[in-house]
Symmetry: C2
Subunit: 318 residues, 2 copies
DNA sequence: CTGAAAGCGCTAACAT
DNA sequence: ATGTTAGCGCTTTCAG
C-alpha cells in the first residue's frame, strides 16, 4: 500500500506539494498538478484517511445508531440521513443496538474512541443515559431521533404521532364512522401511547364519545367485534394484527406505518415522514458540529395519511 | 480531550507504561497498573483509536455494504454478521448502496481510504466490478453475500433458492396439490430466477407436468385463477402480491421471505437462513483477514419452510 | 519491569 | 509556488 511519500518521490516533488494537490488548500502550478495526478493514477494511491483524521482532528464520519433495524420506518429514515450526509461530504455508518442497552453502550464507546464527528441516536428507552452524556460531554454532538434522552437537552426530531392518529380519526369520522375502536399492540412503546392520546383527542373533536369497551388489547382483538357489533371502524396499533381482525365489507381498518404492507392490504395507514426525519436530523447534527453553541433545536414533523385507492373511490362515490 | 501523555504525566509514569496497561501486551507491576487505571478513570480518558490504527495498521472495523435495506432478509442478516463480528472484537458498520452502483463505488472508496480490515458486500448486479477488484487488490478482503461478483473469485455465501422452492413444491404435492401455479414478481432478480428453476425441478420430481398456462406475470396475477379454475395452489415470487390473488378456502398460497408478514397472513413461506448467512459470511471474512492465502470458500445454506399452524393442522387432520 | 525515542502517513506552518 | 519539518496520539523496539 502506497504512501504520500512514494507519490512525491515518483513525481519528483515534495510531499507538501502532493498534499496541496490533494486538499486543494494551496494552489499548485498546473504542470506539477498534472504530474502528481498522473502518478496517483499509476500507483492507484488512496490517501490514508486515518492519518489525515489524526492530524486535522475530524473524521468526516458520522455514526447512526438505531434501536431496531426491522422497524418499517427505518429504511427511509436511513436514506434521508444518508442523503443529507453525502451532501456535506460525511460518511454515514450505521450501527444496530438491537434493543439492548449494553450494546448501545459498547457502540457509543466504540464510536467515541474512533472519534466520529457526530452521532444520530435512536436510543433504547431506559433511564440511564450516562453513556450518552459521556460522549456528548467529550465534545461529540448527539442528536436524538424519535426519543429524547432524559435530562440531556439534545437536539431532537420526532414524528407527531398524536397528531397523526387524530387526523386519522377525523378522516374516519368524515367518512361517516361514528363508532371507532382501538386495538393496542402487545408491545406498547412511547409512540403508541402518544397515538392513543391522539385517538382520544380525535374522538373528542369529532364529538364522539370515548368508550373503553371499544378498546381491546392485542390478545383479545378477536373479541372486540363480537362485543361491539356496531363498530364500523377500528384502529390497530400494530399493523400485523390486521389479518386476525378479519375483514368484512363494512369494517374500515386503519393502522400505522408499514406503507407497503398496508397498501397491499388496502388499509388506511398513518405514516411517519421517515425520510424527512432522517434528513432533518442529519442537518441538525451537521449544523451542531459546525456550531456547538447553537441553541437547542427540537422539531416535530407531521405524519401523513395513506388512503388506499379503493377506499378513496368508495368515499367519493358516496 | 485527553491524550495518553496526560495520563502518563498525572500517574507519574511513562507513556510506554500506560500503553502497556492499555494493550496488556507487556506485563506491568500491579502497583503502577492500579495507579494508571485510576487516572484513566479520573480523566475519563478514551484512547484515540485512530492513532492506534495508524500505528498498528489495522482498524478492527469491518464494513458491510448492502444493496437494499428494505429487504426483509436484511435485519437478521445484519444481526448474524454483527454477532460474529463482536465475538472477535470487530466493529461492524453498515453502509447502504441503495441499488445504485455509483453509490457502491463511493462507499467502497470511502472504506478503502479509511482502511477497514474487511468488507462484506451485497453487490448490485452489474458487470463492472472494477471497484471491487480495486479494494481487494489493495489487500482488503471482500466476501460476497448473496451475489458473487463476476470474475473475482470471492469467498461467498448464498441461500439455496432453488432448493427452497423445490422443497416447497414437494410439500404442496405431499399435501395433495396436483396443480400448482407460479406468479412472477415485477422486478425479477437472480434469486427469483433460481427459485423458478426450483419450481420446475420440484414439479418434475413430483411427477407433475410444467405447464406455462399456470405461470403468470405480476400484472396478470388476477387472471391466473380465472384462466385456471383447477389450480389448487400457487407460488408467489413476491409476497406482497398475496392480497391481490384473493383468498379462497381451497387455494394454498406459498411465497418467499417476509416471515412476519407471511405468518400474519397464514401463508406458507420459504425463508432464507438470513442470520446464519450473515454469521457465516462474517466468519469467512475474519478468517480471510487472518489468513489471506486460505483457499476460496463458497457456501450455500439451505432455506427453511415456514408453515402456518392452521395449514399444518389442516394437513394432519386429513 | 520501566523509560526514552523513533515513526505510522498525513497536514500545516514556515522558510525559501 | 514549492520544499522542509514539526507534530497529531499511539505502539514498539531498545536500553537500562
Amino acid at each position: 500500500v502506497r504512501t504520500i511519500r512514494e507519490v512525491a518521490q515518483r513525481a519528483g516533488v515534495s510531499v507538501g506539494t502532493v498534499s496541496n494537490v490533494l486538499t486543494g488548500a494551496v494552489p499548485v502550478s498546473e504542470r506539477l498538478r498534472q504530474r502528481v495526478l498522473q502518478v496517483i493514477q499509476e500507483l492507484d494511491y488512496q490517501p490514508n484517511h486515518l492519518a489525515r483524521s489524526l492530524k486535522v482532528k475530524q473524521t468526516q464520519m458520522i455514526g447512526m445508531v438505531i434501536r431496531n433495524v426491522a422497524d418499517p420506518v427505518f429504511p427511509e429514515m436511513l436514506r434521508g440521513a444518508e442523503d443529507a450526509a453525502w451532501l456535506q461530504n460525511y460518511l454515514l455508518v450505521l450501527l444496530n443496538s438491537d434493543e439492548q442497552v449494553d450494546r448501545e453502550q459498547q457502540i457509543l464507546r466504540a464510536l467515541h474512541t474512533r472519534r466520529v464527528d457526530g452521532i444520530l441516536l435512536t436510543a433504547n428507552p431506559g433511564s440511564d443515559s450516562s453513556h450518552i452524556r459521556a460522549v456528548r460531554d467529550a465534545g461529540i454532538p448527539v442528536v436524538a431521533l424519535e426519543d429524547d434522552a432524559p435530562g440531556l437537552e439534545l437536539d431532537c426530531v420526532t414524528a407527531d404521532h398524536a397528531g397523526g392518529a387524530k387526523d386519522c380519526v377525523r378522516y374516519l369520522a368524515e367518512c361517516g364512522h361514528r363508532s371507532i375502536g382501538w386495538v393496542h399492540s402487545d408491545s406498547a412503546d412511547s409512540a403508541e401511547a402518544r397515538r392513543f392520546e391522539g385517538y382520544r383527542d380525535g374522538l373528542r373533536d369529532a364529538n364522539l364519545e370515548f368508550d373503553d369497551t371499544k378498546v381491546a388489547r392485542a390478545e383479545s382483538a378477536g373479541d372486540l367485534l363480537a362485543r361491539n357489533p356496531r363498530l364500523t371502524a377500528v384502529m390497530l396499533a400494530d399493523p400485523l394484527a390486521a389479518p386476525q381482525i378479519g375483514r368484512t365489507a363494512d369494517l374500515a381498518v386503519a393502522t400505522f406505518d408499514h406503507p407497503r404492507f398496508c397498501s397491499a392490504l388496502e388499509l388506511v395507514s398513518v405514516v411517519q415522514p421517515s425520510y424527512d426525519m432522517g434528513f432533518k436530523a442529519m442537518e441538525l447534527l451537521i449544523q451542531r458540529i459546525h456550531d456547538p453553541a447553537r441553541p437547542r433545536a427540537t422539531v416535530m414533523l407531521p405524519c401523513g395519511l395513506q388512503i388506499p385507492q379503493a377506499t378513496e373511490a368508495a368515499r367519493s362515490a358516496e
